[in-house]
Subunit: 151 residues, 2 copies
DNA sequence: CTTGCTGCAAAGTGTTTGCATACAT
DNA sequence: ATGTATGCAAACACTTTGCAGCAAG
């Protein structure tokens, strides 16, 4: 976890970006959790060890991280964006998809069935790239429905 | 196409909702296109044959249609919601997924590879339902990347 | 030192709500 | 006639932008 932080910090500085307190803290917050944090969530969390933080900075930092490929931005349908750190090790065995409750907007990560999905997705990806002359960078699979509390 | 409209109109009245000019017109607009329309798009389109329409009504109508399962709402990541009519015939051979350009936000429907996906998805769906006690209603698969114009 | 980064305030954008009027049934 | 549906204006929630000061390198 700390190792990943250092790796990502280096990625930043290597690209000529400055390593500031807000950036470090936002990275740490994202790194520490498996949840799908909104900008507001992150703002609140970072505020604890760095009260001077501004929401604007959170947005700008997240935008930077997304551009750097360090963070993935999601829209789950409740009007605010969610952010998750990208686990981008050689063997990406933490790749996952989402299960979203349309009522309470809870989001569950699942990694089950990923193996079976992998081959199919790879094939599909290649096919689509060729067919539509598209450069595919990422994909999402999401199942929508009612979670156990809401059904 | 017209047949589908009548079917959906009946679905509305059967549920006790009134068949009004805005609703008919919005339905027609959604039905006529294969595109992913935003509320604004629909508003503009409907304005042509019904200039008195208000954006509010468009939103409220879409919300109703979504609740009725007649329309599917998507978030593709450009900040505005998109709406597509649900083709909900017994054999849902028009089911499709999306290819989204992260730069120009173009969205391409694809139906290729759907057959292969179908079995896997069905299995996954069943597995997830059981595992997480989730009642799955729908799913989306989206590939993100750069379209031929933007790459 | 220099220039990128930050925080504040203000503006922007898409969507929702309150309310009086209009209209489908 | 009755109550749902509409349209307007205003409110909202999230995100972005402009700008002067701050601090990382």
């Amino acid at each position: 976890m700390e190792k990943r932080d250092l790796f990502l910090q280096k990625k930043l500085t290597d690209s000529g970006f400055r390593l500031t307190k807000p950036r470090r803290s936002i990275l740490k917050t994202l790194s520490r959790t498996r949840e799908h944090l909104s900008a507001e969530d992150i703002y609140r969390e970072v505020s604890r060890d760095y009260p001077a933080i501004g929401l604007t900075t959170v947005y700008r930092t997240l935008e930077l991280f997304v551009r750097m490929g360090m963070v993935q931005k999601y829209e789950f349908g409740d009007g605010r964006s969610r952010y998750e750190i990208v686990v981008d090790t050689p063997r990406d065995d933490e790749h996952h998809h989402h299960l979203i409750c349309t009522k309470c907007h809870r989001v569950i990560d699942y990694t089950d069935f990923i193996e079976q999905e992998k081959d199919l997705l790879k094939e599909t990806e290649e096919g689509l790239s060729r067919l539509y002359n598209f450069e595919i960078r990422s994909h999402t699979i999401a199942f929508y429905g009612l979670c156990e509390n809401c059904r």
